[in-house]
Symmetry: C2
Subunit: 340 residues, 2 copies
Amino acid sequence: MTDTAPRPTLEAVAARAGVSRATASRVVNGGDGVREPLVERVRRAVEELGYVPNQAARSLVTRRHDAIAVVVAEPETRVFADPFFALQLRGISKELTAHDNQLVLLLTEGRDDHARVGRYLAGGHVDGALVFSLHLDDPLPGLIQRAGVPTVFGGRPGWSDGLRDVVYVDSDNRGGARDAVRHLVGLGRTRVAHITGALDQTSAVDRLEGFKDVMGDAGSRLVVHGDFTPAGGERAMRELLDRCPDVDAVFAANDLTAAGALRVLRERGRRVPEDVAVIGFDDMQPVAEQTDPPLTTVRQDIEEMGRLMARLLLHGDDELPRGTPAGVVLPTTMVHRASA
Amino acid sequence: MTDTAPRPTLEAVAARAGVSRATASRVVNGGDGVREPLVERVRRAVEELGYVPNQAARSLVTRRHDAIAVVVAEPETRVFADPFFALQLRGISKELTAHDNQLVLLLTEGRDDHARVGRYLAGGHVDGALVFSLHLDDPLPGLIQRAGVPTVFGGRPGWSDGLRDVVYVDSDNRGGARDAVRHLVGLGRTRVAHITGALDQTSAVDRLEGFKDVMGDAGSRLVVHGDFTPAGGERAMRELLDRCPDVDAVFAANDLTAAGALRVLRERGRRVPEDVAVIGFDDMQPVAEQTDPPLTTVRQDIEEMGRLMARLLLHGDDELPRGTPAGVVLPTTMVHRASA
DNA sequence: GTGAAAGCGCTAACAC
DNA sequence: GTGTTAGCGCTTTCAC
């Protein structure tokens, strides 16, 4: 580990350009109110010296960090089972990069980590936080609120204790679910079932609500619990077939669940979509395109959700429609393949 | 965005504890050489005030940041097609967290971003870097080397211009490939084919080498190019069947490729493993367990690779065996399922 | 418009 | 052992 040559300081730049440190600083920070020839000289000095501002020194006085934290709570490790997480990150990263912000990634596993994250956020090391994968009973929001860091949540938060004023970005889970179920009904299916996701997440709850919106409470007979995993989908599908052998359509809470269900249907000799039509949710390409048959599903633009979250955090309320509750819900679209 | 109350400074803690700032600082940083009663008083003051050290101020003088950068080059977006990336991150995160380091994530897409990353690393904002997904012609290593930041690479770097002294962590791709091919041969298969990965990545090259180690150059006839994607696997499998209809075993460069191959085999009416035995690489659970039939594959411990990279970076050469080239190669293991 | 000077909050010599 | 002091590199009043 070689000692690197000491980095040039603003002082060095100023000396080389024959100006004061103050002027050099002005130029480095945009150059407003500095006469053109000086600007030019400083710019050249920066170039020649390969000067890069010391972010620590800058932060010390400005109290800004140009960095935001991305907090991913993944007690289930489900986060790692599908590319959801990576896609959101990509969107976030693009947006942050465009505004010269750094992304500090905080992964948490279980409660012990919450304290650590809380401490970090409270420490004022970042200008804001993007928080994901909250479950209904998660203590993190409280910690964050107390830390006083501007925050945008990914997905509608599920706490019930007097809806606090939070900003969040979510897909139209309920509307997307309605579209899917209506499509199945439009196909003439009459015994439409729903395999839910993990119901401690609002996305699962909302998709279930969408299903009920169309099927009514009567439909509840054909609701069976899954957990967003293929294994959960298999289990649920078996239960469903046992309980109601003449089911002719399934709306699964996500593509992974649908993939599991498809496998069981094949195993039991049901043809898809002839005997049973199946629709998923997410449009996770590698999953939805590779199932047999390829999956009809409800697409959400995951990367855009990430971008939007970052944009909301950076530009604050400029982006939010006035007077609305502070949630932004992105539309979903149906993607038609062979399974329904 | 409420203004948060000004954070307490070390000064405040010192005052409250009735000691000097220096003593307070010593206690905060471990408390060596400070008498017990004072330590106690300072600790209490910290507690009562909710003091959190200002990292910027600290970095300014120590020139350390307790932060490392994770650079992921993903021109292919392949990074997002499988959970590989997420698993590595998880390992890295755990290790960093255990040593109170932060993880700054730098995602790059294409060449434009390289300059940005180079500038960031050269800016001395982090204590080190973990770099992934290098392709053979990647300019990033050069930039990084020039930046003078301690770096550990994920995967054997592929540049040829006089092997520079780099530290890297890799799986035993070649050995794992040999195991897989030997297993196929042991099954009595005589026409064993290989679908390669993207050959601008060393992992693909090494797996191909492993295949050749066992099959000899004669085996080359049955080598066909893939790109680590299911679509690539399908394409390659079709080509293979056309070119050599009596192929009786396939070693695919990864599980995704194998999944594609399996689909084509089924489509063409070949039974697996009776007619054609198939082995993958990675043991990507969600893929390998869900194929039909479930995939026999070569497992690499991805999370451990991440951990090890972080450990190597943080503890420097303590962990590296003396006098060895600075690469650490992790063993692979075969996982037997139904496909071979 | 430009420069001089005062810190931001902390650590690390160096005295005591 | 503990306190005093001098910066780390930068931005930002405030004079000029």
